[in-house]
Amino acid sequence: MIPLSAYVAVSAVLFITGLLGVLIRRNFIIVLMSVEIMLNAANINLIAFSHYLESMAGQLVALFIIAIAAGEAAIGLAIIIVVFRGKISTNVDEMNFLKW
C-alpha cells in the first residue's frame, strides 16, 4: 500500500521540474514539453486524491485535462511553426514582439 503522501511527493517533484523547465529553457519546444509535464503532475495529484477520497470526480477531471493538453499541444506546435517561418529560430528570448 503506497501512502498518499508518496503520490503527492512525486507530483510535486514533477511539477517543479516542469516549472523550472518553463522558466529556464530557451527552446520553445522544450518549454512546451515542460508545460505537459506540469499538467501531468496535476493529473497524478487528481487521481491520487480521487482514489483516496473514493470519488470519481477527480478521474473525470484528469480525463478532461488530457484532452485539453492534446489541444494545447496542437495549438502550441502550430504557433511554433508560424513563428519559426518568420524568425528561423525556436529561441524563446527572441520572441518579444508582443510587447509595447
Binding site: L23, V92, F97, W100
Partner: protein
C-alpha cells in the same frame, strides 16, 4: 354570459369615445352620430338582457373586470356590482341616454363641434355607467369625477361664449366642494373598514360607533349635496343651462344630478345608523324643494325655470331619503328622469323652433304652430305637477304619504307647499309659452317650425313613459318596483297604514296640484294683468325672488371675493417677495459663477494636469514591465501565485 354583458355595458360608449375623439375629424358627422347613439343603444340592449336575467334568477352579479390596485391591506378592483338598484339606474341611464342621443342628432345638426359634442356625451355615459355599476367606492368616485368633468366640458360647450365658460367653471368649482366631502367620507370608510367594497362595508356596518356613522353619513351628504345641487351648493345647476339643451336634459336633469340620491340610497345602511344625519338629509331636501320652487315662480328663461324645478324635485328625492323612503326616492328619481327629460327636450324643441329664443316673455301662442311639441310639453307638465294618473303623481305622492304616516309633519308641509308651487310654475310656463297671443318679434315668427321626426320621436317615447311610468309603483307601497328593490333598499312597508288615510292624502295631493293649475290659469290665461299687479304690490318680495334670493351675490361676497382678494394678495407676494428672492439668488449665483470659473481654471485644472503628468511619468516607468519575454511573464505568474498562496495561508491562520 351575463358577466360578459355586464363588462360590455360601459365598453361600447368607451369605444365610441375613442373612435370619435381621436378619429372623428377624418369622417363625416353621419358616421360620428351613428357611432354615438349606436354604442349607447348596444349598452341599452345589454342592460335589458342583464335586467331580464336578474328578473329571472333574482341573483345580483359581481364581476371583476380588472385587478387594479392590490398590496397590503388595500385591494381595489375595477369591479361591477349589478343588483336591483344598479339595474334601475342602468335602465334609466342607458334608456333615457339613448333617447337623448337620438334627439341630439336633430338638435345639434349644423353646429360646429358636432363630433366633439357626441364624444363628450359618450364619455359622460361611460362615467355615469361606472358610477352606478361600481362595486366599491373607488370606482364610484372615478365615475363621480368623470361625470363632473363631462358636465364641465358640456356646459362650456360654447366655450367662446363668456357666460358659458364662467358657468362651466362655476359648476366645476362648486362640485369640488362636494367632492372634498365625498373623499373625506371614503377615507373615513377605509380607516374604519380597511376596504372599499360595498359588500364588506355593509356587512360590517354594525360595528360603527354612532358618532362615526354620523360623520361618514354627513361627509357623504356633502358630496351628494354638491352633485345633486341641494342647498347650499345648488347655485351651479341653474347656470349650467348655458350648455346645449340635450345636455341639460341628460346630465342636469335625468342622470348626473341624481347621482347624489343614488349614493345615499346605496349607503342607506350607514344612514340608518344615524338618525341625526337622516334628519339633516330630510331637512335639506325639504328646504331645497321649497326654496327652489319659490325661485322658479318668477324666472323668465324657459330652461332656468326647468332647472329650478329640477333642484326642487331633487329636494323631494332627498326628503324621501331623509325619512327612510328609499324606494319612493328611487321611484321619483325614475319618473323624474322621464318627465324632466321630456320637458327639457320639449323646451329644446321650442328653442329650436324659435331660433334660439329662451325668454318666455317673447313666446306665446305656439300651441297651433308646433302642435306635437305642445302636446308633449303638456304631458310633461301634468306629470310633474302631480295630477293622476301620470307618473309624477304616484312617486311624489308616495314620498308625501310616507312623510305624513311616519309623523314628519313639517317635512310633509314643506312637500305639500312645494307641490303647489311646482304645479303653479309649471302651468305658468306652459301658458306663457303655448297660449295667449304671440309676443315674438316678426322675424322669429316667420321661421317657427315643428322639429324633425328625429327630435319628436324620442319625445313621444318619453311622453309615453311619463304617462305610464307610475304603473311601476302601483299600487302604492306594494308595486312592482317596491318588490324589485326590496332586497337592496331594506324593508319598506313595515308600517301599517290604513287605506283610507292613503286615499285621503292622495286626494289632498291631487287637490293641491289642481289648485296650482287653477291659480296659473287665473293669472296667465284669464286675468293677464294680475301678475304685474301682484308684482307691483309685493315689489320687494318679487325682486328678491327674481334675483334668486341674492344667493349668488351673497356667495360672491362671502367666498368668491375674499378668495379673489387672497389671490391678488398672493399674486403681490409672489411678485415682490418670492420673485425678489429669486432675483437675489440669481444675482448671487452670477457672482459665484465668476468666482468658481476662476477657481476652475487655475486650481482644478492645475490639479488635473498634475495628476495627468504624474500618470504619464509613472506609465513611462511601468511599461518596462511589459518586456514581451515569455520568461518574464511566466516568472511573474509564478511569483504572483506564490504570493497568493502566502496571503491565503495568512488569512486561514487568522
Amino acid at each position: 354570459m351575463t358577466d360578459l354583458l355586464i363588462k360590455l355595458i360601459p365598453l361600447f360608449p368607451l369605444l365610441a369615445v375613442i373612435l370619435n375623439g381621436f378619429l372623428g375629424r377624418w369622417y363625416s358627422h353621419e358616421v360620428a352620430h351613428r357611432l354615438a347613439w349606436g354604442s349607447v343603444g348596444l349598452s341599452f340592449l345589454c342592460t335589458i338582457s342583464v335586467f331580464a336575467d336578474l328578473l329571472r334568477t333574482g341573483a345580483s352579479h359581481e364581476v371583476i373586470a380588472y385587478q387594479w390596485i392590490f398590496g397590503g391591506d388595500l385591494t381595489i378592483n375595477l369591479a361591477y356590482l349589478v343588483d336591483p338598484l344598479t339595474c334601475i339606474m342602468l335602465l334609466v341611464v342607458t334608456g333615457v341616454g339613448l333617447l337623448i342621443h337620438v334627439y341630439s342628432v336633430g338638435y345639434m345638426s349644423g353646429e360646429s363641434g358636432f363630433t366633439r359634442f357626441f364624444t363628450y356625451m359618450n364619455l359622460f355615459m361611460v362615467s355615469m355607467l361606472l358610477l352606478v355599476m361600481g362595486n366599491n367606492y373607488a370606482v364610484l368616485f372615478i365615475g363621480w369625477e368623470g361625470v363632473g368633468l363631462c358636465s364641465y366640458l358640456l356646459i362650456g360647450y360654447y366655450y367662446d361664449k363668456v357666460s358659458a365658460a364662467k358657468a362651466a367653471s362655476k359648476a366645476f368649482v362648486v362640485n369640488r366642494i362636494g367632492d372634498a366631502g365625498f373623499l373625506l367620507a371614503i377615507f373615513l370608510i377605509f380607516v374604519n373598514f380597511k376596504t372599499l367594497d360595498y359588500a364588506t362595508v355593509f356587512a360590517q356596518v354594525g360595528q360603527l360607533s354612532p358618532e362615526m356613522a354620523t360623520a361618514i353619513a354627513l361627509c357623504l351628504l356633502v358630496g351628494a349635496v354638491g352633485k345633486s345641487a341641494q342647498l347650499p351648493l345648488y347655485t351651479w345647476l341653474p347656470d349650467a343651462m348655458e350648455g346645449p339643451t340635450p345636455v341639460s336634459a341628460l346630465i342636469h336633469a335625468a342622470t348626473m344630478v341624481t347621482a347624489g340620491v343614488y349614493m345615499i340610497v346605496r349607503n342607506h345602511a350607514i344612514y340608518d345608523l344615524s338618525p341625526t344625519a337622516m334628519t339633516i338629509v330630510g331637512v335639506i331636501g325639504g328646504l331645497t324643494a321649497l326654496f327652489a320652487a319659490t325661485i322658479g315662480l318668477v324666472q323668465t328663461d324657459i330652461k332656468r325655470v326647468l332647472a329650478y324645478s329640477t333642484v326642487s324635485q331633487l329636494g323631494y328625492m332627498f326628503l324621501g331619503c331623509g325619512i327612510g323612503a328609499y324606494t319612493a326616492a328611487m321611484f321619483h328619481l325614475m319618473t323624474h328622469a322621464f318627465f324632466k327629460a321630456l320637458l327639457f327636450l320639449a323646451a329644446g324643441s321650442v328653442i329650436h323652433a324659435l331660433s334660439g329664443e329662451q325668454d318666455v316673455r317673447k313666446m306665446g301662442g305656439l300651441r297651433s304652430k308646433i302642435p306635437w311639441t305642445y302636446r308633449l310639453f303638456l304631458i310633461g307638465t301634468v306629470a310633474i305637477a302631480g295630477i293622476p294618473p301620470l307618473a309624477g303623481f304616484w312617486s311624489k305622492d308616495e314620498i308625501q304619504v310616507h312623510a305624513f304616516t311616519h309623523d314628519h309633519y313639517v317635512l310633509y308641509g314643506m312637500a305639500a307647499i312645494g307641490a303647489l308651487l311646482t304645479s303653479f310654475y309649471m302651468f305658468r310656463l306652459t301658458y306663457l309659452t303655448f297660449y295667449g297671443t304671440s309676443r315674438m318679434d316678426h322675424h322669429t315668427e316667420e321661421h317657427v317650425h315643428e322639429s324633425p321626426m328625429v327630435m319628436v320621436g324620442p319625445l313621444m317615447v318619453l311622453g309615453v313613459l311619463s304617462i305610464l311610468g307610475g304603473l311601476l309603483g302601483f299600487p302604492p307601497e306594494q308595486g312592482w318596483l317596491h318588490q324589485f328593490l326590496a332586497p337592496v333598499s331594506g324593508a319598506g312597508g313595515d308600517h301599517d297604514v290604513s287605506t283610507g288615510l292613503v286615499l285621503m292624502l292622495m286626494m289632498v295631493a291631487t287637490g293641491i296640484a289642481l289648485l296650482g293649475w287653477g291659480l296659473a290659469h287665473y293669472f296667465y290665461s284669464t286675468n293677464l294683468s294680475a301678475p304685474d299687479r301682484l308684482a307691483g304690490q309685493f315689489q320687494a318680495g318679487y325682486r328678491v325672488l327674481l334675483n334668486k334670493y341674492y344667493v349668488d351675490e351673497l356667495y360672491d361676497l362671502l367666498w368668491v371675493e375674499p378668495t379673489k382678494w387672497f389671490g391678488r394678495l398672493f399674486d403681490w407676494f409672489d411678485r415682490t417677495v418670492i420673485d425678489g428672492l429669486v432675483h437675489a439668488v440669481a444675482q448671487l449665483a452670477g457672482v459665484v459663477a465668476i468666482g468658481s470659473t476662476w477657481v476652475e481654471k487655475h486650481v482644478i485644472y492645475g490639479i488635473i494636469n498634475v495628476v495627468g503628468y504624474g500618470n504619464h511619468l509613472a506609465a513611462r516607468q511601468w511599461r518596462q514591465l511589459q518586456s514581451g519575454m515569455v520568461h518574464h511573464y511566466a516568472a511573474i505568474i509564478v511569483a504572483g501565485l506564490f504570493l497568493l498562496a502566502v496571503v491565503i495561508q495568512l488569512i486561514m491562520q487568522l
